[in-house]
């Protein structure tokens, strides 16, 4: 069986991370930013999984599964916070959330 070379994975992970970063930096809606963070996190998972394919111990894959669970929990908490913010400020736009400045 011919295996997919490692740099394919890395390019894909890089693309994902870059996309996530761009979304985080550019998007104004807070939900989109959260999704960008998820994308970057998933790029990291992909890297774990990819490197683990060339490792007999499979520690990476364990780490990836563990991290996915953590990500789910984190997403839940983050969404809860967002909801609270929305409730309090009646907006989901990052531009309007500048408590520090005023």
């Amino acid at each position: 069986m011919t295996s997919v070379p490692i740099h394919y994975y890395l390019i894909l992970a890089g693309f994902l991370f870059s996309s996530g970063l761009l979304i985080v930096l550019m998007k104004r809606n807070i939900v989109f930013v959260l999704m960008g963070i998820e994308l970057m996190l998933n790029a990291a998972h992909l890297n774990f999984a990819a490197f683990s394919r060339f490792d007999s111990k499979l520690d990476g894959q364990v780490m990836a599964v563990f991290s996915v669970v953590l990500a789910a929990a984190e997403a839940a908490i983050a969404l809860a916070i967002l909801l609270n913010i929305y409730k309090k400020h009646h907006t989901s736009d990052l531009e309007d959330l500048k408590e520090l400045k005023n």
């Binding site: 970063l21 985080v24 930096l25 550019m26 930013v33 990052l94 531009e95 959330l97 500048k98 408590e99 520090l100 400045k101």
Partner: protein, 629 residues
Amino acid sequence: MNTGVWMILTLLLPLMGGMLAYTFRIQAARIATGFAFLALALSSLLLINGFNWSTRFLWIPEFHLGWRVDQLALVLCTLVLLISFLVHLFSVKYMHVHEHPRYFLKLGFFTTAMLGLLMADHLLLLFIFWEVVGFASYLLIGFYHEKKEAAKSAKWAFLTNRVADVALLGAILSLGFEQSFFLSELTAIPSVWIGAGLLIGAMGKSAQLPFSGWLPRAMTGPTPVSALIHAATMVAAGVYLMLRVGPFLPEVVLTCAAIVGALTAFFGAFTAVTQHDVKQVLAYSTVSQLGFMFLGIGVGAFESSFFHLWTHAFFKAGLFLAAGVLMHHVGTQDMRQMGGLGGSMKWLMTLHVICGMALAGFPLFSGFMSKEGILQATWSWAEQQTAAGYSEAHLVSYFAFFTLFLTAWYIARQVWMIYWTPSRTVASVEGSGYHWQMGIPLILLSIASLGIVQGFHVFSSSGWVMELAGFSLAAHAGSLIPFVSSGLVLIGFVHCYGLYGPRRFYVQHYAQSTYPPSIMGRLSYFGWYVDSLYDRVLSSGYVTVAKGLHWFDKKAVDGTVNAIGVSGVVFAKFLSLVDTYVVDGFVQLTVWISRQVGRLATRIQSANVQHQIAWLIFVLILLLVFLLF
């Protein structure tokens, strides 16, 4: 105490008196007069006891000044102090009381300066006092300074003297550096230029011809001052200088002095003939008599010149004081408004006539004796010159003889016009108001004008004062000259009587007359137009030059200054531009850079979360780059 202390005390007493009078103000006249008398007494004592004094003192390193009081100086000091004292006494009543402090201060200042001039041995010291005396004269001519005429006359006198003094200073300096500054060390002066400089200086002070204009103008001062300064003492300073340096002068300079003297004597007498002002007649007469003294020096008769200086001081001071009394009574000094005063003022007339006779050179009076010496010396000098081939020299003595005639003429005219002709007075003549302070000086001066008082023998030309001053007695005898001169004086009197005697044509119209219409009359009345010549030629030329200079100043100098100013402004503007845009630009650039850096730095702490994340990532990348590479 030694002699020097007494000498210095004599020198300073008049000034001290004046200063005390000025300080205490009340009794100013008594204080000043008292001090003048003290100085006179001291000086007389020194003279009688035959004191001589000579000293030198260090002025600046390696440069000594010196005093020397020999017999001649001491005799003249005593003369100055005597006249000064009499004038002080006369002024007590003559001047108003409120004028006293200032007046007596100036008088004392003048007397001290004059004594300093006579006592100086060093030529520079002499020159300093020469100038101080001129300044004192300036102050006193302009005593009534609120009158414009007086201020103008003072200025005129001062400036005329300065012109002559330039020559004197030049001569003194070159004499000092070539030979010696000390009068007592003088030897024959070879340079004609130095001699000419000394002569010109003396001519300025003694109002000789080109410089004569200031003396008649000086009559705007108080009359006692005219008697002291402008008749007896200061104007004789030029003669004194010539007496000192005369024996060492080159022949040419002495001849010049003789010619100038004869011309001035003639000029003064000729001008005095037609003047209407009492004091103007006397002023021109002083010019004329000073001319006689110069003539005497020029022909080498120093002792006779000195004798004439001595006698002239008495009779001319007497004449001026008499004129002062007259003016006090009549309230004018214009002879056209006098006349017929002989009846009410007999004693004054007598004294005036005595002094006038002395001035005219009538036998038995002092003026006769002193003039005789000069005339005889002039005649023998002319004979010598003729023998040497200069027959024109006799012209000089002819001038002198003719002056004698004119002198008798104008003084006779004055006496007749004032005392004997019908009265032309406009204002009512006041009572005589006799004051002994005014009478005593006049009487003393008149007595001193008598021949018996002055000489051993009233028909000789020698006086005891010549011996006292250290001169040898004049040795002229057995000539016809005394008879000729007496005859000329008599002819002068008679001729004048023919024109100005009572009921003559001139007398009847005299009150309205201005000046005789003939050319000679006008020439005489306007003083040969010397003053007009000054005004027209010198003053206007000077004014033209000044105007030209003014124009040059305005156009060229001011233009340059303005150009410099404008260019300065332009340069400053340019500098300010450079400042604004270059220097300030740099500063602004620095500010801008730091502001931008600051702004950049504040972004890090932006309220925007995304900015912060972006910075985070940026710094992370930087760290990675730093760590990995």
